[in-house]
Amino acid sequence: MIRHHPDEALLLAYAGGASDEATALILATHLAYCQACRARMAKLEAIGGGLLQDLAPAQMSQGALDAVMAKLDTVLPFERPPRPVSRDGTPDVLRRYIGGDLEQVRWRSMGSRLSYLPLFRRGSVTARLLRGVPGAETGMHRHGGQEYTLVLKGGFTDATGSYGPGDLQVMEGELRHNPVADPGEDCINLAVTSGRLKFETLPHKILAPLFGF
């Protein structure tokens, strides 16, 4: 059961189309897990539809309708691209960024207990996958900006609570935490961060910048 959801503002920014791509990715992946937020999202998009209905119309150019009508016979009905079959339940939206399933990821090691895979970076916002063996600690840190973490497999616990598959954690600024992977299976997260993480302890302080954190 999912207990940690995006707040209204975060989901509304996604519904309105203002989220940056990495934030949109983590929200879309949360939606793949969370039926409750899909229902919330439908309502927020309905506000967009309501606003569209009530906008003062702008004048279309002369002949716009004729031009589009003339194209109707030349375009093919939209067909959803064939969907690759995921073997381990990796959401399709995330699969497109990984280039395959979670179980196919070629992890880059960061010490003996943590590994990661950079997905992409836009401006100061980075999306990456993180993986920790049970008991692995991220290291106590604060945040230069926002840090969104979505659990994909396993779980982790820190001073703010416990997080399992589908849970989204939002941390920002001076909030400190040291997530520890729960016992059992490896914990795999999708993490989106803006700004650098500020680690408080060695060796994280030295190592983190080397890995781009």
Binding site: M1, I2, R3, D7, E8, A9, L12, A13, A15, G16, G17, A18, S19, D20, E21, L25, A28, T29, A32, Y33, C34, Q35, A36, R38, A39, A42, K43, E45, A46, I47, G48, G49, G50, L51, L52, Q53, D54, L55, A56, P57, A58, M60, S61, A64, L65, V68, M69, K71, L72, V75, L76, P77, F78, G89, P91, D92, V93, R96, Y97, G166
Partner: protein, 182 residues
Amino acid sequence: MIPQAPELNALLLRVASARDRAAFAALFSHFAPRVKAYLIRLGAPAALAEDLAQEALLSLWRKAHLFDPAKASAATWLFTIARNLRIDAMRREKRPEWEAEDFIPGDMGGAEDLLALADEEMRLRAALKELPPDQVQVIELSFFADKPHSQIAGELGIPLGTVKSRLRLAMARLKRALGDAE
């Protein structure tokens, strides 16, 4: 009188089922100028807004068979098409989007059925007009500013927490107006 949700939904279903060109023309006349206005609000130059509005309506024609009035009204559905086209064209990014087939079973916590939103559109628009101006403003900026809420807060000269609490209040009122017990 502008056409309302039930009528617009019916037109779109005629496009889906019969490739009805007259129904399409009616939808075009209603929606294309509104999509163009939406794109201009978001900073598109008039010529680009015109092109994208035409493209959005062409997408409506191509995707009409995917429209499901139990999930969204015609206006809401077209809004999502226009929103995604704008992100593609103006931000040159893709919009990651969950897909219905993506649904990962097992999470039934807090599950609620998708409401039949089409019928609620008029009530929703009426409720939007009843909101206090400071709440309407943050809702509108969420759709028309293409900025994160932190930046919206900065430009309004109010703390982010205030923006968020106005959004929460607005959403609570809208849900009440829709008869949602939460």
